[in-house]
């Protein structure tokens, strides 16, 4: 009974959203929906969609690594490394991704003669998200109770082994929810790489819109394409979260 009520609530809310957007779009469009021309571009769009997944996935992996390095740099007593991390984070936190993407491609990329837009885009996104991920690590690691550190120290664990066997296995559980949000932000942020001319999903759908003048249909496809990536991802992380919480 409770499940039925939940399902009904979900379907009703979904219908309300669909009706609202259908009304807005139909009112604005002043003509019948026309998705037919998109058929010819379907492979072109699909490849852009895959590129978005690829860029986001690699960027997130990079961000997980960069975030950890930034966290460790920030914690070190070696002041140059500490301030390199602090300054990096301040620049990232205080600057829009769009600005960083343009500077990264047109200036930094050019200066180092990196021509691959996907490479520059992925690294830029990784460095950008990495700053946020380092704060996720920081929160998770600092939430590990001091008792756990002391016990590891007492039983002779080195600093590396303490992180490897005691801290990180506990950190992974607590970083999953914020990381899911971060991955969703990475996917959405990848759209800004279109300003570099990267052939990701947003850019490709935009190209098709420019060719067909079918803006509303294009933006609908674009929205659905992004949701198709982010919703299963968020579901997966929620599932893992429940599993791991159960285990612990």
């Amino acid at each position: 009974m409770k499940n039925m009520r939940k399902t009904f609530g979900f379907v009703a809310a979904l219908v309300i959203y669909c009706v609202f957007f259908y009304y807005v779009m139909t009112k604005d469009i002043g003509r019948a929906w026309n998705f037919e021309p998109f058929g010819a571009y379907s492979f072109f769009i699909f490849r852009g969609w895959l590129t978005t997944i690829y860029i986001s996935f690699i960027a997130l992996l990079l961000a997980l690594f960069i975030g950890l390095i930034l966290y460790l740099m920030e914690q070190t007593n070696f002041s140059i490394l500490h301030y390199l991390a602090v300054i990096h984070k301040n620049i990232i936190f205080g600057t829009p991704l769009l600005v960083i993407a343009i500077v990264a491609y047109y200036y930094i990329g050019n200066a180092f003669e990196i021509r691959s837009k996907i490479l520059v885009g992925t690294i830029t996104l990784g460095l950008y998200i990495g700053a946020y991920v380092s704060d996720i690590y920081k929160g998770a690691i600092e939430s590990i109770h001091i008792n756990q550190w002391q016990t590891a120290k007492m039983f002779g664990f080195t600093r590396f082994k303490t992180y490897r066997y005691i801290v990180f296995p506990q950190v992974i559980i607590s970083i999953l929810p914020p990381l899911a949000g971060q991955f969703a932000l990475t996917i959405k942020g990848s759209a800004l790489l279109s300003f570099m001319g990267t052939s990701e999903y947003y850019n490709r759908v935009n190209n098709v819109i420019a060719n067909t003048y079918l803006n509303r249909e294009g933006f609908l496809i674009m929205t659905l394409g992004y949701l198709l990536i982010t919703i299963p991802l968020i579901k997966l992380v929620r599932y893992l979260e429940v599993r791991l919480n159960y285990k612990n």
Binding site: Q148, T151, K153, M154, F157, I166, K247, N248
Partner: protein, 240 residues
């Protein structure tokens, strides 16, 4: 056990916690540190374990003087039982022990598995070996913590108020486990408020107050000489 402490000074934020403490104890199996909260007994135990740094002084267990350079080796000789068991929360009871033996002491799984199982059986934890710490009671967790301390075959076991957060029934459970250690002739240093238990098992008692040793000896509980210890015992045993 032999315990030598020479002019030990410990400060926290400039405040003196242990004040030029010295002691030389030999041929003792169970040493109990007693005193009111804040007297410095837990701090002293943590310094003996090599868990904290100190301003000046020296500590030696069985004639092995502690030094910063080989502190990790020094700690390997000491088994420590914390106030709140401090089991690793993401590992099962078995893994809490096996991880230390495998990753710190470099032992082979086929060697230590049976040892751990017999240790857990000894402390009545065999059926809980695969459970996580939050799935067992406080008394069971504390017994697991004692088993873990014992698993590294330490020269000496230090227990820091192991029953302070337990109810009377669980306290009794843990005291029986400690009694087993004593019966096995393990060298033990125990910080506790369980004066009745101290009377029963300790062969040397140190009474501390405000970071100083006020009285020490083998029979100070039955024959207290200082007013401070008499007052302390008067309070803690008033309803005994």
């Amino acid at each position: 056990m032999k315990l030598k402490i020479d002019n030990l000074v410990k400060k926290y934020d400039g405040k003196i916690i242990l004040n030029a403490m010295s002691m030389d104890i030999e041929d003792v199996q169970v040493l109990a540190l007693i005193g009111a909260s804040g007297s410095g007994k837990s701090t002293l135990l943590r310094l003996i374990a090599g868990l904290e740094t100190f301003e000046s002084g020296d500590i030696a267990i069985n004639d092995d003087w502690m030094s910063r350079e080989d502190i990790r080796d020094y700690r390997k000789k000491v088994g420590f039982v914390f106030q709140d068991h401090n089991l690793f929360s993401h590992l099962s009871i078995f893994e809490n022990i096996s991880l230390i033996l495998e990753k710190v002491h470099g032992q082979k799984r086929e060697v230590f598995t049976s040892e751990i199982l017999s240790l857990l059986t000894y402390f009545g934890l065999d059926e809980h070996k695969d459970k996580l710490p939050h799935q067992i009671s406080g008394g069971q967790s504390q017994r697991a913590s004692i088993a873990r301390a014992l698993s590294i075959k330490p020269e000496i076991i230090l227990l820091d108020e192991p029953t302070s957060s337990l109810d009377p029934v669980l306290t009794c459970e843990v005291l029986y486990a400690i009694k087993k250690l004593v019966d096995e002739k393990k060298d033990v240093i125990l910080v506790t408020h369980e004066i009745g238990f101290v009377k029963h098992v300790a062969d040397y008692v140190i009474f501390m107050d405000e970071g100083r040793v006020i009285e020490q000896g083998r029979d100070i509980l039955s024959n207290p000489k200082t007013e401070a210890l008499q007052a302390f015992l008067g309070k803690v045993l008033s309803f005994a």
